[in-house]
Protein backbone atom coordinates (compact mmCIF):
# COMPACT_ATOMS: atom_id res chain seq x y z
CA UNK A 1 0.00 0.00 0.00
CA UNK A 2 0.98 3.59 -0.38
CA UNK A 3 3.04 4.97 2.50
CA UNK A 4 4.11 1.48 3.53
CA UNK A 5 0.91 0.76 5.43
CA UNK A 6 0.68 -2.97 5.81
CA UNK A 7 -2.41 -4.68 4.50
CA UNK A 8 -3.17 -6.52 7.72
CA UNK A 9 -2.81 -3.30 9.68
CA UNK A 10 -5.33 -1.59 7.45
CA UNK A 11 -7.82 -4.47 7.73
CA UNK A 12 -7.35 -4.83 11.48
CA UNK A 13 -7.77 -1.15 12.15
CA UNK A 14 -11.10 -1.05 10.35
CA UNK A 15 -12.14 -4.31 11.96
CA UNK A 16 -11.45 -2.94 15.44
CA UNK A 17 -13.17 0.36 14.65
CA UNK A 18 -16.27 -1.51 13.44
CA UNK A 19 -16.04 -3.91 16.37
CA UNK A 20 -16.53 -1.08 18.83
CA UNK A 21 -19.58 0.13 16.92
CA UNK A 22 -21.10 -3.31 16.56
CA UNK A 23 -20.38 -4.23 20.15
CA UNK A 24 -22.41 -1.21 21.19
CA UNK A 25 -25.22 -2.05 18.74
CA UNK A 26 -25.36 -5.68 19.91
CA UNK A 27 -25.30 -4.70 23.55
CA UNK A 28 -28.03 -2.07 23.29
CA UNK A 29 -30.17 -4.24 20.99
CA UNK A 30 -29.90 -7.16 23.38
CA UNK A 31 -30.88 -4.98 26.30
CA UNK A 32 -33.88 -3.45 24.52
CA UNK A 33 -35.07 -6.75 23.09
CA UNK A 34 -34.71 -8.58 26.40
CA UNK A 35 -36.68 -6.09 28.41
CA UNK A 36 -39.43 -5.71 25.81
CA UNK A 37 -40.42 -8.15 23.09
CA UNK A 38 -38.07 -11.09 23.73
CA UNK A 39 -38.56 -11.59 27.47
CA UNK A 40 -38.26 -15.38 27.48
CA UNK A 41 -34.93 -15.54 25.63
CA UNK A 42 -31.61 -15.79 27.45
CA UNK A 43 -29.90 -12.36 27.06
CA UNK A 44 -26.45 -13.96 26.81
CA UNK A 45 -27.52 -16.08 23.89
CA UNK A 46 -29.28 -13.13 22.31
CA UNK A 47 -26.11 -11.09 22.61
CA UNK A 48 -24.04 -13.84 20.99
CA UNK A 49 -26.65 -14.08 18.25
CA UNK A 50 -26.57 -10.36 17.49
CA UNK A 51 -22.84 -10.00 17.95
CA UNK A 52 -21.86 -12.92 15.73
CA UNK A 53 -24.13 -11.56 13.02
CA UNK A 54 -22.50 -8.13 13.37
CA UNK A 55 -19.04 -9.67 13.09
CA UNK A 56 -20.06 -11.36 9.87
CA UNK A 57 -21.29 -7.99 8.62
CA UNK A 58 -17.81 -6.52 9.08
CA UNK A 59 -16.24 -9.18 6.90
CA UNK A 60 -19.11 -8.79 4.44
CA UNK A 61 -18.22 -5.10 4.23
CA UNK A 62 -14.61 -6.03 3.46
CA UNK A 63 -15.85 -8.27 0.69
CA UNK A 64 -18.00 -5.54 -0.82
CA UNK A 65 -15.18 -2.98 -0.43
CA UNK A 66 -12.86 -5.14 -2.50
CA UNK A 67 -15.09 -4.64 -5.55
CA UNK A 68 -15.02 -0.85 -5.47
CA UNK A 69 -12.53 1.97 -5.73
CA UNK A 70 -15.05 4.77 -5.24
CA UNK A 71 -16.40 5.17 -1.70
CA UNK A 72 -19.71 6.76 -2.75
CA UNK A 73 -20.62 3.99 -5.13
CA UNK A 74 -19.70 1.39 -2.53
CA UNK A 75 -21.83 3.19 0.04
CA UNK A 76 -24.83 2.95 -2.28
CA UNK A 77 -24.32 -0.64 -3.35
CA UNK A 78 -23.39 -1.93 0.12
CA UNK A 79 -26.84 -1.68 1.78
CA UNK A 80 -28.53 -2.95 -1.39
CA UNK A 81 -26.22 -5.97 -1.44
CA UNK A 82 -26.93 -6.58 2.23
CA UNK A 83 -30.66 -6.44 1.59
CA UNK A 84 -30.28 -8.85 -1.34
CA UNK A 85 -28.54 -11.40 0.86
CA UNK A 86 -31.56 -11.59 3.15
CA UNK A 87 -33.93 -12.36 0.27
CA UNK A 88 -33.09 -16.09 -0.06
CA UNK A 89 -34.86 -16.54 3.27
CA UNK A 90 -38.14 -15.65 1.58
CA UNK A 91 -37.65 -18.34 -1.04
CA UNK A 92 -38.31 -20.77 1.82
CA UNK A 93 -41.29 -18.81 3.08
CA UNK A 94 -43.79 -21.63 2.70
CA UNK A 95 -41.66 -24.33 4.29
CA UNK A 96 -41.40 -25.20 7.94
CA UNK A 97 -38.11 -25.63 9.71
CA UNK A 98 -37.82 -29.34 8.93
CA UNK A 99 -38.21 -28.98 5.20
CA UNK A 100 -35.57 -28.35 2.56
CA UNK A 101 -32.81 -28.49 5.13
CA UNK A 102 -29.97 -28.91 2.66
CA UNK A 103 -30.99 -25.85 0.64
CA UNK A 104 -31.38 -23.87 3.82
CA UNK A 105 -27.87 -24.81 4.95
CA UNK A 106 -26.46 -23.48 1.69
CA UNK A 107 -28.62 -20.34 1.82
CA UNK A 108 -27.39 -19.77 5.37
CA UNK A 109 -23.88 -19.16 4.05
CA UNK A 110 -25.27 -15.67 3.54
CA UNK A 111 -25.25 -14.41 7.10
CA UNK A 112 -28.39 -12.19 6.86
CA UNK A 113 -30.36 -15.20 5.64
CA UNK A 114 -29.02 -17.29 8.51
CA UNK A 115 -29.82 -14.42 10.86
CA UNK A 116 -33.43 -14.23 9.72
CA UNK A 117 -33.83 -18.00 10.06
CA UNK A 118 -32.61 -17.50 13.62
CA UNK A 119 -35.10 -14.67 14.13
CA UNK A 120 -37.91 -16.96 12.97
CA UNK A 121 -36.96 -19.59 15.50
CA UNK A 122 -36.72 -17.01 18.29
CA UNK A 123 -40.16 -15.66 17.31
CA UNK A 124 -41.55 -19.23 17.32
CA UNK A 125 -40.26 -19.89 20.82
CA UNK A 126 -41.36 -16.53 22.15
CA UNK A 127 -44.81 -17.02 20.61
CA UNK A 128 -45.24 -20.26 22.48
CA UNK A 129 -43.74 -18.71 25.61
CA UNK A 130 -41.22 -21.56 25.88
Amino acid sequence: MIMGLRDWVYQTSWFLTALVLFFWISLSTTFLASVTFLPASDPRLLFMYFFSFCLSEITFSFLIASFFTKAKLAAIVGPVALFCTVLPRFVFYGSNRYEEQQSKYYASLLSPTAFSFGADIIADYEYSGA
Binding site: G4, S13, V86, D120, S128
Partner: protein
Protein backbone atom coordinates in the same frame (compact mmCIF):
# COMPACT_ATOMS: atom_id res chain seq x y z
CA UNK B 1 26.04 -8.21 16.37
CA UNK B 2 26.76 -4.71 15.27
CA UNK B 3 23.68 -4.88 13.05
CA UNK B 4 21.51 -6.14 15.88
CA UNK B 5 22.71 -3.26 18.02
CA UNK B 6 21.83 -0.91 15.22
CA UNK B 7 18.38 -2.39 14.98
CA UNK B 8 17.85 -2.08 18.70
CA UNK B 9 18.80 1.52 18.45
CA UNK B 10 16.51 2.00 15.53
CA UNK B 11 13.66 0.42 17.43
CA UNK B 12 14.35 2.88 20.22
CA UNK B 13 14.26 5.70 17.72
CA UNK B 14 11.10 4.34 16.16
CA UNK B 15 9.42 4.20 19.52
CA UNK B 16 10.26 7.80 20.20
CA UNK B 17 9.23 8.89 16.76
CA UNK B 18 5.90 7.16 17.09
CA UNK B 19 5.39 8.57 20.58
CA UNK B 20 5.93 12.03 19.30
CA UNK B 21 3.65 11.67 16.35
CA UNK B 22 0.94 9.48 17.87
CA UNK B 23 -1.32 12.45 18.45
CA UNK B 24 -0.87 13.49 14.87
CA UNK B 25 -2.35 10.23 13.66
CA UNK B 26 -1.60 9.71 10.03
CA UNK B 27 1.60 11.77 10.17
CA UNK B 28 3.30 8.80 11.74
CA UNK B 29 2.87 6.85 8.56
CA UNK B 30 5.22 9.28 6.84
CA UNK B 31 7.64 9.25 9.71
CA UNK B 32 7.92 5.53 9.46
CA UNK B 33 9.60 5.75 6.12
CA UNK B 34 13.14 4.50 6.89
CA UNK B 35 14.68 7.29 4.84
CA UNK B 36 13.47 9.86 7.34
CA UNK B 37 15.09 8.20 10.33
CA UNK B 38 18.52 8.84 11.69
CA UNK B 39 19.46 5.18 11.32
CA UNK B 40 18.35 4.23 7.87
CA UNK B 41 17.27 0.63 7.74
CA UNK B 42 17.51 -1.59 4.73
CA UNK B 43 14.25 -2.07 2.90
CA UNK B 44 12.62 -5.46 3.09
CA UNK B 45 14.30 -6.41 -0.16
CA UNK B 46 17.70 -5.48 1.22
CA UNK B 47 17.01 -7.34 4.42
CA UNK B 48 16.31 -10.50 2.50
CA UNK B 49 19.51 -10.07 0.55
CA UNK B 50 21.49 -9.55 3.72
CA UNK B 51 20.05 -12.64 5.28
CA UNK B 52 20.95 -14.87 2.36
CA UNK B 53 24.49 -13.52 2.06
CA UNK B 54 25.30 -14.06 5.73
CA UNK B 55 24.04 -17.52 6.39
CA UNK B 56 25.64 -17.87 9.82
CA UNK B 57 23.66 -14.98 11.32
CA UNK B 58 20.54 -15.30 9.21
CA UNK B 59 18.12 -16.98 11.73
CA UNK B 60 18.82 -14.48 14.49
CA UNK B 61 18.58 -11.54 12.14
CA UNK B 62 15.37 -12.85 10.63
CA UNK B 63 13.71 -13.25 14.00
CA UNK B 64 14.73 -9.74 14.93
CA UNK B 65 13.35 -8.51 11.67
CA UNK B 66 10.14 -10.35 12.34
CA UNK B 67 9.78 -8.72 15.74
CA UNK B 68 10.66 -5.43 14.20
CA UNK B 69 8.01 -5.96 11.55
CA UNK B 70 5.38 -6.70 14.16
CA UNK B 71 6.38 -3.71 16.26
CA UNK B 72 6.25 -1.50 13.26
CA UNK B 73 2.86 -2.94 12.29
CA UNK B 74 1.50 -2.31 15.77
CA UNK B 75 2.65 1.26 15.63
CA UNK B 76 0.94 1.65 12.27
CA UNK B 77 -2.13 0.05 13.75
CA UNK B 78 -2.27 2.43 16.67
CA UNK B 79 -1.80 5.30 14.27
CA UNK B 80 -4.60 4.04 12.01
CA UNK B 81 -6.89 3.61 14.98
CA UNK B 82 -6.03 7.11 16.14
CA UNK B 83 -6.84 8.38 12.68
CA UNK B 84 -10.19 6.57 12.72
CA UNK B 85 -10.92 7.91 16.18
CA UNK B 86 -10.14 11.46 15.14
CA UNK B 87 -12.29 11.07 12.04
CA UNK B 88 -15.22 9.81 14.12
CA UNK B 89 -14.74 12.62 16.59
CA UNK B 90 -14.68 15.30 13.95
CA UNK B 91 -17.73 13.96 12.08
CA UNK B 92 -19.98 14.00 15.13
CA UNK B 93 -23.27 13.79 13.27
CA UNK B 94 -22.24 10.82 11.15
CA UNK B 95 -20.92 9.03 14.20
CA UNK B 96 -24.13 9.70 16.09
CA UNK B 97 -26.15 8.28 13.20
CA UNK B 98 -23.97 5.16 13.16
CA UNK B 99 -24.31 4.58 16.86
CA UNK B 100 -27.99 5.50 17.24
CA UNK B 101 -29.73 4.54 13.99
CA UNK B 102 -30.51 0.99 15.14
CA UNK B 103 -32.70 2.46 17.86
CA UNK B 104 -35.18 3.58 15.19
CA UNK B 105 -35.84 -0.01 14.08
CA UNK B 106 -35.81 -1.28 17.64
CA UNK B 107 -38.29 1.37 18.73
CA UNK B 108 -40.57 0.43 15.83
CA UNK B 109 -40.52 -3.18 16.97
CA UNK B 110 -41.11 -2.18 20.58
CA UNK B 111 -43.97 0.07 19.52
CA UNK B 112 -45.53 -2.80 17.57
CA UNK B 113 -45.11 -5.07 20.58
CA UNK B 114 -46.75 -2.50 22.86
CA UNK B 115 -49.73 -2.26 20.53
CA UNK B 116 -50.27 -6.01 20.32
CA UNK B 117 -52.91 -7.73 22.41
CA UNK B 118 -52.25 -10.71 24.62
CA UNK B 119 -54.92 -13.40 24.39
CA UNK B 120 -55.60 -15.60 27.39
CA UNK B 121 -56.99 -19.12 27.04
CA UNK B 122 -58.24 -21.35 29.82
CA UNK B 123 -57.32 -24.97 30.24
CA UNK B 124 -59.56 -27.23 28.23
CA UNK B 125 -60.57 -30.86 27.89
CA UNK B 126 -61.96 -32.33 24.70
CA UNK B 127 -63.98 -35.30 25.91
CA UNK B 128 -67.38 -33.92 24.99
CA UNK B 129 -68.83 -32.19 22.00
CA UNK B 130 -71.93 -29.99 21.73
CA UNK B 131 -73.85 -30.34 18.52
CA UNK B 132 -76.69 -27.98 17.75
CA UNK B 133 -79.35 -28.67 15.17
CA UNK B 134 -79.47 -26.57 13.08
CA UNK B 135 -75.79 -25.69 13.56
CA UNK B 136 -74.81 -22.35 15.06
CA UNK B 137 -74.51 -19.81 12.28
CA UNK B 138 -77.51 -21.13 10.35
CA UNK B 139 -80.59 -19.12 11.18
CA UNK B 140 -84.20 -20.31 10.81
CA UNK B 141 -84.70 -18.34 7.59
CA UNK B 142 -81.73 -20.12 6.03
CA UNK B 143 -79.17 -17.31 6.09
CA UNK B 144 -75.61 -18.22 6.94
CA UNK B 145 -73.19 -16.56 9.29
CA UNK B 146 -69.99 -18.05 7.90
CA UNK B 147 -67.75 -17.03 10.82
CA UNK B 148 -70.06 -18.54 13.42
CA UNK B 149 -70.60 -21.66 11.34
CA UNK B 150 -66.85 -22.09 10.97
CA UNK B 151 -66.34 -21.72 14.74
CA UNK B 152 -68.98 -24.35 15.42
CA UNK B 153 -67.37 -26.72 12.88
CA UNK B 154 -63.95 -26.19 14.48
CA UNK B 155 -65.44 -26.94 17.92
CA UNK B 156 -67.04 -30.15 16.67
CA UNK B 157 -63.82 -31.23 14.99
CA UNK B 158 -61.85 -30.62 18.18
CA UNK B 159 -63.93 -33.12 20.12
CA UNK B 160 -63.95 -36.91 19.93
CA UNK B 161 -63.98 -38.10 16.33
CA UNK B 162 -64.56 -41.42 14.62
CA UNK B 163 -63.30 -42.26 11.18
CA UNK B 164 -66.11 -41.68 8.66
CA UNK B 165 -66.70 -44.58 6.31
CA UNK B 166 -66.22 -44.23 2.58
CA UNK B 167 -69.85 -43.52 1.73
CA UNK B 168 -70.21 -40.96 4.52
CA UNK B 169 -67.12 -39.10 3.37
CA UNK B 170 -68.10 -39.03 -0.29
CA UNK B 171 -71.65 -37.94 0.54
CA UNK B 172 -70.38 -35.16 2.76
CA UNK B 173 -68.03 -34.06 0.01
CA UNK B 174 -70.83 -34.04 -2.58
CA UNK B 175 -73.07 -32.02 -0.25
CA UNK B 176 -70.36 -29.48 0.45
CA UNK B 177 -69.30 -29.04 -3.15
CA UNK B 178 -72.95 -28.78 -4.25
CA UNK B 179 -73.63 -26.08 -1.65
CA UNK B 180 -70.87 -23.92 -3.12
CA UNK B 181 -72.55 -23.96 -6.54
CA UNK B 182 -70.27 -21.35 -7.99
CA UNK B 183 -67.07 -22.27 -9.84
CA UNK B 184 -65.47 -18.94 -8.97
CA UNK B 185 -66.03 -19.51 -5.28
CA UNK B 186 -64.60 -23.01 -5.59
CA UNK B 187 -61.48 -21.75 -7.30
CA UNK B 188 -61.01 -19.00 -4.71
CA UNK B 189 -61.45 -21.47 -1.89
CA UNK B 190 -59.12 -24.08 -3.32
CA UNK B 191 -56.40 -21.45 -3.70
CA UNK B 192 -56.69 -20.25 -0.12
CA UNK B 193 -55.12 -21.87 2.90
CA UNK B 194 -58.56 -22.63 4.31
CA UNK B 195 -59.68 -24.20 1.04
CA UNK B 196 -56.56 -26.33 0.78
CA UNK B 197 -57.27 -27.79 4.18
CA UNK B 198 -60.76 -28.76 3.05
CA UNK B 199 -59.62 -29.36 -0.54
CA UNK B 200 -60.72 -32.96 -0.89
CA UNK B 201 -64.10 -32.26 0.62
CA UNK B 202 -64.78 -29.25 -1.59
CA UNK B 203 -63.45 -30.61 -4.86
CA UNK B 204 -63.30 -34.34 -4.78
CA UNK B 205 -61.26 -35.70 -7.64
CA UNK B 206 -60.62 -39.11 -9.09
CA UNK B 207 -58.91 -42.04 -7.40
CA UNK B 208 -55.86 -43.61 -9.01
CA UNK B 209 -54.69 -47.15 -8.39
CA UNK B 210 -51.33 -48.79 -9.05
CA UNK B 211 -49.93 -51.23 -10.03
CA UNK B 212 -52.07 -53.11 -12.51
CA UNK B 213 -52.33 -56.31 -10.49
CA UNK B 214 -54.94 -58.82 -9.33
CA UNK B 215 -54.78 -57.32 -5.81
CA UNK B 216 -55.71 -53.90 -7.12
CA UNK B 217 -58.53 -55.44 -9.19
CA UNK B 218 -59.75 -57.14 -6.05
CA UNK B 219 -59.67 -53.85 -4.12
CA UNK B 220 -61.62 -52.03 -6.84
CA UNK B 221 -64.12 -54.86 -6.93
CA UNK B 222 -64.44 -54.79 -3.16
CA UNK B 223 -65.05 -51.05 -3.13
CA UNK B 224 -67.64 -51.44 -5.88
CA UNK B 225 -69.46 -54.11 -3.93
CA UNK B 226 -69.34 -52.66 -0.43
CA UNK B 227 -69.90 -48.96 -1.10
CA UNK B 228 -72.63 -47.20 -2.98
CA UNK B 229 -70.75 -44.04 -3.89
CA UNK B 230 -67.61 -45.54 -5.43
CA UNK B 231 -69.45 -46.36 -8.67
CA UNK B 232 -70.07 -42.67 -9.26
CA UNK B 233 -66.43 -41.74 -8.75
CA UNK B 234 -63.84 -41.57 -11.49
CA UNK B 235 -60.99 -43.98 -11.03
CA UNK B 236 -58.00 -45.02 -13.07
CA UNK B 237 -55.58 -47.88 -12.95
CA UNK B 238 -51.90 -47.40 -13.79
CA UNK B 239 -49.13 -49.88 -14.57
CA UNK B 240 -46.85 -48.58 -11.86
CA UNK B 241 -46.62 -45.93 -9.17
CA UNK B 242 -44.22 -43.92 -11.34
CA UNK B 243 -46.65 -43.93 -14.25
CA UNK B 244 -49.47 -42.84 -11.97
CA UNK B 245 -47.46 -39.93 -10.55
CA UNK B 246 -46.45 -38.87 -14.03
CA UNK B 247 -50.06 -38.97 -15.20
CA UNK B 248 -51.29 -36.96 -12.22
CA UNK B 249 -48.61 -34.33 -12.64
CA UNK B 250 -49.29 -34.03 -16.36
CA UNK B 251 -53.02 -33.60 -15.73
CA UNK B 252 -53.10 -31.07 -12.92
CA UNK B 253 -56.33 -29.59 -14.25
CA UNK B 254 -58.08 -32.81 -13.25
CA UNK B 255 -58.64 -32.98 -9.51
CA UNK B 256 -57.03 -35.97 -7.86
CA UNK B 257 -58.37 -37.40 -4.65
CA UNK B 258 -55.78 -40.06 -3.96
CA UNK B 259 -53.30 -42.50 -5.39
CA UNK B 260 -53.45 -45.93 -3.80
CA UNK B 261 -50.46 -48.21 -4.36
CA UNK B 262 -50.64 -51.81 -3.20
CA UNK B 263 -47.08 -53.11 -2.86
CA UNK B 264 -47.67 -56.52 -1.35
CA UNK B 265 -50.24 -58.40 0.65
CA UNK B 266 -50.09 -61.71 2.48
CA UNK B 267 -51.97 -63.12 5.47
CA UNK B 268 -49.14 -61.89 7.72
CA UNK B 269 -48.38 -58.47 6.31
CA UNK B 270 -49.59 -55.78 3.99
CA UNK B 271 -47.66 -52.97 2.43
CA UNK B 272 -49.54 -50.16 0.72
CA UNK B 273 -49.33 -46.42 0.22
CA UNK B 274 -52.00 -43.75 0.15
CA UNK B 275 -50.73 -40.62 -1.53
CA UNK B 276 -52.79 -37.45 -1.25
CA UNK B 277 -52.35 -33.86 -2.23
CA UNK B 278 -49.58 -32.28 -0.20
CA UNK B 279 -51.65 -29.32 0.96
CA UNK B 280 -54.48 -31.41 2.36
CA UNK B 281 -52.31 -33.39 4.76
CA UNK B 282 -50.32 -32.56 7.90
CA UNK B 283 -46.63 -32.12 7.26
CA UNK B 284 -44.81 -35.36 7.90
CA UNK B 285 -41.35 -33.77 7.94
CA UNK B 286 -42.20 -32.53 11.37
CA UNK B 287 -42.82 -35.51 13.61
CA UNK B 288 -43.39 -33.66 16.86
CA UNK B 289 -44.27 -30.01 17.08
CA UNK B 290 -42.29 -29.06 20.17
CA UNK B 291 -43.15 -25.44 20.21
CA UNK B 292 -46.88 -25.34 20.36
CA UNK B 293 -49.36 -24.15 22.90
CA UNK B 294 -53.02 -25.00 23.04
CA UNK B 295 -54.43 -27.52 20.62
CA UNK B 296 -52.52 -28.06 17.38
CA UNK B 297 -55.35 -28.84 14.95
CA UNK B 298 -53.15 -30.23 12.20
CA UNK B 299 -54.16 -33.81 13.05
CA UNK B 300 -57.71 -33.03 11.87
CA UNK B 301 -56.42 -33.00 8.31
CA UNK B 302 -56.15 -36.79 8.48
CA UNK B 303 -59.95 -36.80 8.81
CA UNK B 304 -60.73 -33.90 6.49
CA UNK B 305 -58.51 -35.09 3.66
CA UNK B 306 -60.14 -38.51 3.66
CA UNK B 307 -56.87 -40.25 4.49
CA UNK B 308 -58.27 -42.19 7.44
CA UNK B 309 -61.39 -43.09 5.46
CA UNK B 310 -59.30 -44.56 2.66
CA UNK B 311 -57.01 -46.32 5.12
CA UNK B 312 -59.98 -47.85 6.89
CA UNK B 313 -61.52 -48.98 3.58
CA UNK B 314 -58.28 -50.58 2.40
CA UNK B 315 -57.83 -52.30 5.76
CA UNK B 316 -61.35 -53.71 5.46
CA UNK B 317 -60.47 -55.05 2.04
CA UNK B 318 -57.13 -56.42 3.27
CA UNK B 319 -58.77 -58.50 6.01
CA UNK B 320 -61.41 -59.67 3.60
CA UNK B 321 -58.85 -60.51 0.90
CA UNK B 322 -56.48 -62.39 3.20
CA UNK B 323 -59.36 -64.37 4.67
CA UNK B 324 -60.03 -65.57 1.15
CA UNK B 325 -56.34 -66.32 0.61
CA UNK B 326 -56.11 -68.38 3.77
CA UNK B 327 -59.20 -70.42 3.09
CA UNK B 328 -58.04 -71.26 -0.45
CA UNK B 329 -54.34 -71.72 0.41
CA UNK B 330 -52.57 -75.05 0.44
CA UNK B 331 -49.52 -73.53 2.06
CA UNK B 332 -49.04 -75.19 5.48
CA UNK B 333 -47.55 -72.00 6.90
CA UNK B 334 -50.61 -70.02 5.97
CA UNK B 335 -52.86 -72.69 7.37
CA UNK B 336 -50.90 -72.74 10.63
CA UNK B 337 -51.09 -68.98 10.90
CA UNK B 338 -54.76 -69.07 10.03
CA UNK B 339 -55.31 -71.48 12.87
CA UNK B 340 -53.36 -69.46 15.35
CA UNK B 341 -55.72 -67.54 17.54
CA UNK B 342 -53.58 -64.40 17.40
CA UNK B 343 -53.89 -63.82 13.68
CA UNK B 344 -57.59 -64.63 13.48
CA UNK B 345 -58.51 -62.61 16.50
CA UNK B 346 -56.79 -59.65 14.91
CA UNK B 347 -59.48 -57.50 13.36
CA UNK B 348 -59.49 -54.00 12.03
CA UNK B 349 -59.91 -51.52 14.85
CA UNK B 350 -62.46 -48.73 14.74
CA UNK B 351 -60.65 -46.00 16.63
CA UNK B 352 -62.13 -42.93 18.25
CA UNK B 353 -59.68 -40.06 18.52
CA UNK B 354 -59.69 -37.40 21.16
CA UNK B 355 -57.11 -34.67 21.77
CA UNK B 356 -55.15 -34.55 25.02
CA UNK B 357 -56.27 -31.83 27.46
CA UNK B 358 -54.46 -28.54 27.05
CA UNK B 359 -53.20 -26.25 29.81
CA UNK B 360 -54.12 -22.60 30.17
CA UNK B 361 -51.87 -20.28 28.18
CA UNK B 362 -51.53 -16.74 26.92
CA UNK B 363 -50.53 -15.80 23.46
CA UNK B 364 -49.15 -12.64 21.93
CA UNK B 365 -50.06 -12.25 18.28
CA UNK B 366 -47.10 -9.90 17.78
CA UNK B 367 -44.76 -12.80 16.99
CA UNK B 368 -47.27 -14.37 14.62
CA UNK B 369 -47.81 -11.07 12.84
CA UNK B 370 -44.23 -9.86 12.57
CA UNK B 371 -42.32 -13.11 13.11
CA UNK B 372 -41.29 -13.43 9.50
CA UNK B 373 -40.35 -9.73 9.37
CA UNK B 374 -38.32 -9.84 12.56
CA UNK B 375 -35.25 -11.08 10.71
CA UNK B 376 -35.58 -8.46 8.02
CA UNK B 377 -36.08 -5.67 10.53
CA UNK B 378 -33.17 -6.72 12.67
CA UNK B 379 -30.93 -7.17 9.62
CA UNK B 380 -31.66 -3.63 8.53
CA UNK B 381 -30.73 -2.36 11.97
CA UNK B 382 -27.23 -3.80 11.39
Amino acid sequence: MVFVAEIKKSIYTYTHTSARTLAGGIVLLFAQNPAELRFPLPTSFQRRKFATNNKSVAPAVLSVHFIQDIMSGLRQLSASLSKNFIEKKRNTRTTCCEYMSHFIIMLMLIFGYALSDILYYDEKIYTTVDIQIPPAGVSSDGTLDIAELYTSIVDILSGPLTVPNFDAYITLSRTMSASLQSEELTSVLTNSEFGQKYGNLLTLGSIHFAPDSSEVDSLIDYMNRTTTTFQNLNFQKHKSEGNAIQYIQNHLDEYTFALIVIHSISPEAINYEIRLNYTTMPNTNQIVNWITIGLDRDYQNYFLSGFLTLQSTIDDWAFNYTDGLISSSQDPKAIISSNSSESRNCRKPNPVTMPFPTAAFDQNLFYQAVGFLLGLAMTSKG
